[in-house]
């Protein structure tokens, strides 16, 4: 069922993305690009005392990539850098492995349907690739095709 992919929460976040704006005082920024579909994303993170205090994004993309960016920025706030990286790994596992769904993912579990759509995994991970690049302080735009 295609509805397993496009769950209500995903549709809601794709139509009304949260934290979808530039952030002037961000101290981490990164750009992500998916050359296969042309989706682009700019991610803004503010880290204070090793804690993500704010996160936002701008960009154009499909429902999956927009909802993923929206939900990611929501779930990052209050996380330490280490916790953010752990979340990234869990999210990646959710999409690409058959491991049981981790409850630490919170709302992000709505993306569990993506694992049945291999062609769409990159849509869901674009924001997260970009997050990794932002946390590592990389200046180069990150592409979904380089990992």
């Amino acid at each position: 069922m295609v509805e397993d992919l496009y769950q209500e929460v995903i549709l809601d976040h794709s139509k009304r993305p949260r934290n979808c704006h530039p952030m002037e005082d961000a101290n981490r920024k990164a750009e992500g690009y998916n050359p296969l579909c042309g989706d682009r994303l700019k991610l803004y993170i503010k880290i204070e005392n090793d804690t993500v205090t704010d996160a936002s994004f701008v960009g154009s993309g499909c429902a999956i990539s927009t909802a993923s960016a929206s939900l990611m920025t929501e779930s990052l706030k209050g996380k330490s850098r280490q916790e953010a990286i752990k979340l990234l790994d869990r999210f990646h596992d959710l999409l690409t492995t058959d491991t049981p769904v981790s409850q630490d993912l919170g709302k992000l579990v709505v993306f569990c349907g993506v694992r049945d759509y291999p062609a769409r995994v990159k849509c869901a991970t674009l924001a997260w690739h970009t997050l990794k690049s932002a946390l590592n302080g990389s200046a180069e735009p990150v592409s979904t095709e380089t990992e």
Partner: protein, 415 residues
Amino acid sequence: MSTLTSAVAPGFDVARIREDFPVLKQCIHGKPLVYLDNAATAQKPFAVIDAIRKFHEVDCANIHRGVHELSQRSTAAYEETRGKVKHFINARSKNELIFVRGTTEGINLVASSWGRKNIKAGDEIVISALEHHSNIVPWQMLCEEKGARLRVIPIDDRGDLILEEYEKLLGPRTRMVAVAHVSNALGTINPVRRVIEMAHQQGALALIDGAQAVPHLTVDVQALDADFYAFSGHKLFGPTGIGILYGKTRLLNAMPPYQGGGDMIRTVTFEKTTYNDLPYKFEAGTPNIAGGIGLGAALDYVTRIGLDKIAAHEHDLLLYATEALARIPGLRLIGTAREKAAVLSFVIEGIHPHDIGTVLDREGVAVRTGHHCAQPVMDWFHVPATTRASLAFYNTRQEIDALIAGLAKVKEIFS
């Protein structure tokens, strides 16, 4: 199934033709496959599948080398295709037809061999705004290497070339004009005869990217007076990895080899190598023999059906689909050229093409979503991507209906 019989092409029995394509008889996610991604690659009839199988089962040997029976059979079958291609595009001689991997390699061959020899700093190469990346990047690489300039014929809002602007781009520095016969992203059929004529008036050569044209139109390279014409086998119902570069004998003779190796030589010593005659000078190494034989079978198949009937049926489908799509609120067709092949590129307000493609796939409908290897076209229309339905002669009005029903489902989910 009487409605499957085309009203516009008498004697054209779509239901029967579909029987020739085994891949079409399957369900995708429980729904009958509706294959509308023919501009990416076309499906293969039994005739092609059987020819390739027969080669591997009965005739398999390397070509141009052995005196043994199998080598002679495989050489004859492979070379027979060259004769069929000569007939298919009306080349003067078989020697003007170079086997390549596909259109991309054909264009790269010309850019590398002819280009490196003839292009100097300050020269100009003209392409158009609706080219596939394969007819942009090889010229860009050449220009970068030589200090030459790439100039681009603009298109209008319909996706037609603006010939007045093209005329202004032409000048004494123009050396090559490289343009698609049919646009893969928009379906525009370019007035290539006129484009070539204008290039020739300035003393420039013209290369035509025929990848999207040969499956749908009758191509006559002599009538067009094309200097080079490249196309791929796999869009013509043949296998992947085989294509043709046509070039005028005079030009090909004056060009240095593209790759070195076996088959392209006459004599080799460590001091000096002399090269083989056309077309072998450009065919180094063991080629895609099975592919060449499969291409021959594909040409026979298409010729038997008749390109005039194919064009009539596809045009009927194009009109039917254009009307049906126009009735969908929020849908915008990208590419409405006056003369169009059966390609329908579109966007729907507020819904990304990838989401459209995924929902359609679950309905059994295969379309292409993305930039179609034509990012400058997407930029021109200010869209990141489109959904593209591209048709072939085995498609039916019922399949267009399935596309439309699938789009209704898309709107239901995302509205």
